[in-house]
């Protein structure tokens, strides 16, 4: 799927100079992102928020929050009971005894919302299609109380060890990791109640955490990612049980990697989009492309509005295949 170029303007030129972005990116953001200048201010100037997700496989929420308060952490509640925004921390989050013991996982709220949208139940059979470093996998295991089964796929061998250590630290027991490309899962005779496809993407939703991405972000990356995402989502749909759920997410703001992908499967498969309680409605038009109205049910998250990474979530009920 090729990347749509939008016409440049005086405004796009001005903002590109002011915020040191490529102008074609700004031209797109002016259409995609509400309150674009505030967004650019945020990602250029604000220290990214940090969230922790309490790992209830190892400790209960009250005990760990009390421990952290005693260490002068300031925590703020979020819409998810397990997730807290770190307002102040006296120690690096990844170097405390509590972190090393697997009592919490450093994880953006948006990632947790993707897992939340899966409506996971204890005895489900779940597939995590692009799983490393294991944050979402371990949250799923937590929601399942270490029961049921999770198959976690990771194509890159060098990322497997990190995932292994994260799952071990968090006490995850109900997961098997396969070193396999997500696209190949349909070659195996498995059907899953729930599938999470947090697809590999161009990642401009996390530019505020990694400013170097400003320079490496390109139209070719968007095109490459969206082509791969189309293949992945079609594979995912083929392994969901009828009546099961697929959650598709990315940390990209590009419609080609989000709404366009969902729009293409609506026409091809017997699926229904379901609403999500968080975020704001997605785009149903971008450039000259007009999409199915139901795409509005998918949600976008923006750093300057939601205090999260830029993120996209679609909740897809598979009717029949």
């Amino acid at each position: 799927m090729s990347c749509i170029s939008l016409p440049k303007s005086e405004k796009s030129q001005e903002l590109a100079t002011k915020y040191n972005f490529k102008e074609w990116m700004i031209a797109r953001y002016l259409t995609i992102v509400p309150d674009t200048e505030k967004f650019l201010d945020y990602i250029n100037n604000k220290v990214p928020n940090q969230y922790i997700r309490i790992n209830t496989l190892k400790i209960d929420i009250d005990t760990i929050t009390q421990k952290l308060l005693e260490k002068d952490f300031k925590l703020e509640k979020t819409p998810l009971t397990e997730v807290f925004l770190i307002k102040e921390a006296k120690f690096p989050l990844g170097a405390t005894m509590e972190y090393l013991s697997g009592y919490y996982y450093i994880q953006d709220l948006s990632s947790c919302l993707a897992v939340e949208s899966l409506d996971i139940e204890e005895h489900d059979m779940v597939l995590d299609m692009a799983a490393s470093p294991g944050g979402k996998t371990s949250f799923m295991a937590q929601k399942m109380n270490n029961r049921g089964m999770i198959l976690a796929l990771e194509a890159e061998r060098k990322r497997l060890r990190k995932m292994m250590f994260n799952l071990a630290r968090c006490g995850v027991m109900n997961t098997v990791i396969w070193n396999l490309k997500g696209e190949k899962i349909m070659n195996y005779d498995f059907k899953f109640d729930k599938v999470l496809l947090d697809a590999p993407c161009s990642c401009d939703g996390i530019i505020h955490k990694d400013p170097l991405r400003k320079n490496t972000y390109s139209k070719e990356t968007i095109q490459f990612c969206s082509t791969r995402q189309s293949k992945l989502i079609e594979s995912a749909l083929k392994v969901v049980k009828p009546g099961g759920l697929l959650v598709y997410s990315t940390c990209s703001l590009a419609p080609e990697e989000n709404e366009f992908i969902i729009n293409s499967i609506i026409k091809k498969f017997d699926i229904t989009l379901e609403s999500i309680d968080y975020g704001i409605d997605s785009l149903i038009k971008f450039g000259n492309k007009v999409m199915d109205k139901s795409i509005k049910l998918t949600k976008r998250f923006y750093p300057h509005i939601h205090n999260t990474a830029g993120f996209f979530i679609a909740k897809i009920r598979v009717n029949n295949l």
Binding site: K67, G94, A95, M97, L100, S101, G102, R147, M149, L151, K158, L160, R161, K162, M163, M164, F165, N166, L167, A168, R169, G171, V172, M173, N174, T175, V176, I177, W178, N179, L180, Y188, F190
Partner: protein, 175 residues
């Protein structure tokens, strides 16, 4: 490729679970083994239901990694001792203060003055669990002294063998 354990391997591991008082944890679970490129034979304990997914060529990891097998000897992992700390009531341990806790997390050894409590039956070379004041596992150590001398000021009385920071250091080592 992950495989089932031989009878001999199974016996070696079950014996260790029994020795540390966590034999009941094995119920409804099975052990499997994966031999990695570096010839490390990792032992995993998985719920029986996971057998459905584990014996495939691309399978890399499953359940909890409880240790390695080296030359017919089981070397328990920190995860194994985490189970011991939570489920067993038959192990030797010491409780250390905040200063001791900080040092262990960096893989350092334990000074006698950091020890607040020690089990009565510790002798030289005893393998023991190192816990903090909330009785949470910090690491595993080898005693240099009998219980009566383990709190001696100003000298290392326990060598740290494994600690919970192992996760982080192993992870960084792989990058």
């Amino acid at each position: 490729m992950i495989r089932e354990l031989t009878r001999e391997e199974n016996t070696i591991i079950r014996r260790e679970f029994n020795k540390w008082g966590i034999f009941n944890f094995i119920k409804d679970k099975v052990f499997v083994l994966n031999e990695y490129e570096d010839n490390v034979k990792c032992i995993f304990i998985i719920p029986s239901a996971l057998k459905k997914l584990i014996f495939y060529p691309y399978s890399f990891y499953g359940g909890l990694q409880v240790g390695n097998i080296q030359k017919k000897k089981f070397i328990p992992s920190i995860t194994f001792f985490d189970l011991v700390a939570k489920l067993s009531n038959s192990f030797l341990y010491v409780i250390v203060d905040c200063q001791g806790e900080k040092l262990i997390l960096y893989g350092r050894d334990i000074f006698g003055n950091s020890i607040l409590y020690a089990s009565q039956k510790i002798v030289e070379n005893s393998i023991l669990l190192i816990l903090n004041r909330s009785k949470e596992l910090l690491g595993i150590g080898r005693a240099r002294f009998h219980t009566t001398k383990i709190k001696t000021n100003g000298i290392v009385t326990i060598d740290t063998l494994l600690d919970i920071g192992t996760y982080l250091r192993s992870e960084n080592h792989q990058k």
